[in-house]
Symmetry: C2
């Protein structure tokens, strides 16, 4: 069995990189804090005799050889980057649990049939460069590497520059190598497991998503002298779109998701009518058809709504993917592991995007969820219990070993 | 007569301090650019033999002695600070025209009966520290100096620190000294003069205003996992208030003004439901009663609207002043000067706040407006014609000399 206390200590130690006063983590991808987390991870891997490789987008792979040199490796892992005000467990749980799996095998002197590879994916969150699942997306060939290299953060720094700045533009190509399967443990980041009193979520897939960058252009003007009829207030127009996103989310019922999470006003001076507002829009739903409909119809609906204010709207699509089902055999391995361990489990669809979504396009994949307090995530108050982490890690161990030894 | 070409050259030279690529000016108060403008102004004043004094809030007074030592000085001027994306004329016109008045008297070898003082007020715009008319307000005793010193910009720098950083916390107290009257020339920043084909606006007063700092608190949460019913989205709540401000402005008809010019989202990450939004709210109207009504009723109305979203609103009042009428005798001097010069003029109420509003609480005051293209201001494209600047400067000259020699 894995060592729950050791796993917890590892999680707490990792949470020091980018720790915030409110008990959360600010460890944006490819920053100094991310580099510190990566170095820590690498050191721990090498101490277990794992061979660490870094690819051209900074994804890290730590390999443990198997008994059978003809077998393809079983991959597992998650991500060490965080939101700007994120929690200690989103991503880090999957990586540190993976390390605990490796450590347990090491301590037991066990060698699996197939090799194992523990992965730390680059930029899962997407907060810095605007693209979530960036590292796994580049690796899986969803995004061309040159396009990803050219993405810029809010300060104008490109992904390529940021990789070089922390020394993590690696030697091996960012592309799928032959592998047998991928498993990822992650906190649910939602309320379902806690509500149902389940210790383990058997994740059957992830929901469909569409994301846009939007920009509304009006005209800067004096707040005190410009009469109502002469105003082209980009923020008044943006407020209509924020309301429209919320309304379309609610139209889709309890499973609907629609969010404007990022918004920036220009010139952002209190006595100037805003001339420009840049913001993000996203919708999610388990049914791909609903998201496809929004992807094709929402931009025109929003543009018409903005036109009524005398402003203009432009929207450029950042990502759009259909619901991604996971591999039935891998999902079954997770389900069997939970059952063998006597853990209460339920099937569910992931509300969040995960690296497993893109990896699943290249090989059989599955995910394991564990509950988090009040379903709260992307928040510094994100919280889990040591026993919940331990249960998830044990299921990961069983599923990975079962797959590698099959 | 004043020299229009020289005035224009002076304006263009001043516009180099903080010049932007789009032809505007970014010269936020108490920055390096503001300091350069101040030094330039001081040098030009001293070259004319004027004695320059700086008060404790950085207001600059350049004095020209009169013939009669018992007479109180006649003041005139405006401000050299700008909006973050401001124009070349907002404020600078009044200061540079004042310098041209001094220069013309100097060239003609004329001494007025009363002394003259040309003023450059600190932080008229209010964009950096959130308080417009800050220097004149502190000077007039509207704001206690210690409170003003403690105001902070977006980077946490206080007014006191910013004054010291550019060496403009002056020797003399920031308080009214005995003076006879104040005149201010400014661009209208609105469409009325241009529409009516008038060269000169006889400003009879300024409209009432109320400003608040507002903050909405919801809860950061994951955009993909948090169901509609569990969301407390501070940006969705803020969008309602932006729409409400716009609606209340429109209720007040053509003379209504209501603006959210500044807004900041936390954590401002595209896949995080915003947990906090800070923003500004302002209303203006020529009728003080309407603004007083909003000052007392709007916060409760807005709070009720926000409560429906599960978020909470707090509002703190930044300023509230009634309509300020200007002095009838000073207004008449402006009107007579325009008539004598054969310039088409009309009376109007200022839509913008001006230093003259606070100065008028301490001494007789009046203002002169000149048109600007399309009424556009607080915009880098702000534009005026040299002949318009010259006409305004000539009226300023006549009014100031008439008052000083009466
Ligand atoms: N797991 C997670 O929070 N991923 C970020 C991508 C998303 O927005 O779903
Ligand atoms: N003149 C001017 O633009 N002043 C700024 C203060 C205001 O918002 O009216």
């Amino acid at each position: 069995r894995i060592d729950g206390a050791r796993l917890w200590d590892g999680l707490m130690a990792m949470a020091r990189h980018g720790a915030t006063p409110k008990g959360g983590v600010k460890r944006l991808t490819l920053t100094a804090e991310d580099r510190a987390a990566r170095e820590d991870f690498r050191t721990q891997c090498e101490a277990l005799g794992l061979a660490v490789r870094v690819d051209a987008i900074g994804n890290m792979f730590a390999r443990r050889e198997g008994r059978d040199p003809t077998r393809l490796p079983v991959l597992f892992g998650s991500h060490l980057d965080s939101q700007p005000s994120g929690g200690k467990y989103d991503g880090a749980l999957g990586v540190m649990a993976g390390l605990e799996v490796m450590r347990t095998l090491h301590d037991l002197g066990l060698t699996t049939e197939a090799p194992l590879e523990l992965v730390n994916w680059t930029d899962e969150e997407g907060s810095r460069f605007g693209h979530s699942l960036m590292g796994s997306g580049a690796w899986a060939g969803v995004y061309p590497l040159e396009k990803v290299y050219a993405l810029r953060d809010g300060d104008g720094v490109t992904v390529a520059e940021a990789l070089d700045a922390i020394g993590y533009r690696g030697e091996i190509p960012a592309e799928p190598f032959p592998a047998d399967a991928y498993f990822e443990l992650h906190i649910e980041q939602g309320p379902i497991l806690e509500r149902d009193g389940a210790a383990i979520g058997i994740v059957t897939g992830a929901q469909a998503q569409v994301w846009w960058d939007a920009r509304i252009t009006g005209q800067d003007a004096h707040a005190g002298t410009t009469p109502p009829g002469a105003r082209r207030d980009a923020l008044v127009a943006a407020a209509r779109i924020i309301a429209l996103v919320d309304a379309r989310m609610r139209d889709a019922g309890e499973e609907g998701r629609g969010t404007v999470g990022f918004l920036k006003v220009e010139p952002n001076s209190r006595n100037v009518i805003p001339g420009e507002v840049a913001f993000s829009i996203e919708f999610r739903h388990p049914e791909s058809g609903r998201i496809a409909h929004l992807a094709s119809h929402f931009p025109a609906e929003a543009a018409a709504d903005v036109a009524a204010t005398g402003c203009a709207l432009s929207m450029s699509q950042v990502l759009h993917y259909a619901a991604q089902p996971f591999d039935a055999a891998c999902v079954a391995l997770v389900e069997q592991a939970a059952a063998r361990l006597g853990l209460k489990a339920r099937r569910l669809v992931s509300g969040a995007g995960h690296d497993a979504v893109y990896v699943a396009r290249r090989m059989p994949a599955a995910m394991i969820f564990t509950p988090c307090k009040d379903g709260l995530s992307h928040n510094e108050a994100e919280s889990i219990e040591p026993a919940q982490a331990e249960a998830g890690c044990q299921v990961l161990f069983e599923a990975v070993v079962a797959r590698a030894n099959r």
